[in-house]
Amino acid sequence: MELGSLQRRYIDFTSALFREGFLDNQYTQLQQLQDESNPEFVLEVVTLFFEDSEKLLNELSRTLDQQVVDFKKVDAHVHQLKGSSASIGAQRVKNVCMAFRNCCEERNQEGCLRWLQQVRQEYFLVKSKLETLFRLEKQILAAGGSVPVLCFLWPTHVETLSV
């Protein structure tokens, strides 16, 4: 695919991610922390997030599968997952975690199991989206182009910048 359409595709894809709430402003913050001295920063942090999350999801399954559920443990895991998803801007995962924690407080095993399913779903969704994003970036760079940077502006000060 030629460079121009790759970049357009990237812009459309990224805009959709933000519009649909998969990612929030914190992801943009991560991008702003990346530069020539740390060219892989976003990828490194997101990879850590993937590893951490999958570990946590497995732990959650295990803990909720017990006869007598240790809800404190469940809550601790969800708290951690909420924190890391917030740190990388994975908004939907974070939101589900918040609801999940309420169930933990109520010590509702069935409810928690349902939320676990939800959070798992959201996690794998955002994971595949981010992987697509990284793949597109790689393709753009391989085609000799530069990766478009999108940033948030004040709702009342939307500026149209030429592409």
Partner: protein
């Protein structure tokens, strides 16, 4: 201990989350701070030359690796020693009590914020930390390191700048820089009524715009 006039401002960051440690390290380094990260309060105390059950640091011994720290930033929720526990230990130590301590938390709990500020914390940040939040650390940079001798003049917080040169950052800092000192610290509490997590604006995807093309080398 002699103060090296060329020394960079050194921040000790304490957080049990690897992701958050990586983030804060990058944030601080981007702002030209020297950073050391540890994953627990007890490791922090060890580094500072204070063992957990002591209130005075041991006299310099050859095998003790004490470092000079100008500011400590710590997560609140940590297993074992919480950020609050760490704060109390530091403020209770004659050798360490003057080091400013800043607490971060992912949860906006007014009573928690109050407790930390009353316990001697200089600032309370909501996580995740952003570049615009670091403006609030600048007053402490002036006090530590090379200007240590002059620090007792006037405990005055300069008002943070309202504009950053970077276009993307300016939009997020201009709303949160509307006040200084105490009212700034209360920000997390006061804005609780507005919406769940607002000490800084969150933007909807509809205001997304194309800023620039990142240049590759």
């Amino acid at each position: 201990m002699a103060v090296d006039p060329e020394a960079q401002f050194h921040v000790l960051a304490v957080d049990d989350s690897l992701i958050d440690r990586k983030l804060i390290e990058r944030l601080l380094k981007t702002s030209s701070y020297q950073v050391t990260t540890v994953d627990s309060g007890s490791k922090a105390l060890e580094l500072l030359g204070l063992s957990e059950d002591q209130h005075i640091s041991s006299p310099s011994s050859p095998d003790k690796n004490e470092i000079e720290v100008n500011l400590i930033i710590t997560d609140y929720c940590m297993p074992g020693m919480t950020g609050y526990d760490l704060l109390k230990k530091i403020k209770g130590s004659s050798s360490l009590k003057d080091i400013p301590v800043v607490i971060m938390s992912s949860e906006n709990v007014p009573s928690r914020i109050d407790r930390c500020l009353e316990g001697g914390a200089e600032e309370f940040f909501l996580k995740p930390l952003q570049l615009s939040d670091l403006i609030r650390l600048r007053p402490y940079m002036l006090k530590g390191g090379k200007l240590k001798e002059q620090q007792q003049h006037h405990h005055h917080h300069p008002s943070p700048p309202h504009q950053e040169t970077n276009g993307a950052i300016s939009s997020s800092s201009s709303s949160s820089s509307s006040n200084t000192s105490r009212s700034n610290k209360r920000k997390a509490m006061d804005e609780e009524g507005l919406s769940p997590e607002k000490t800084r604006p969150r933007f909807s995807g509809s205001s997304l715009a194309l800023a620039s093309y990142q240049e590759t080398t």
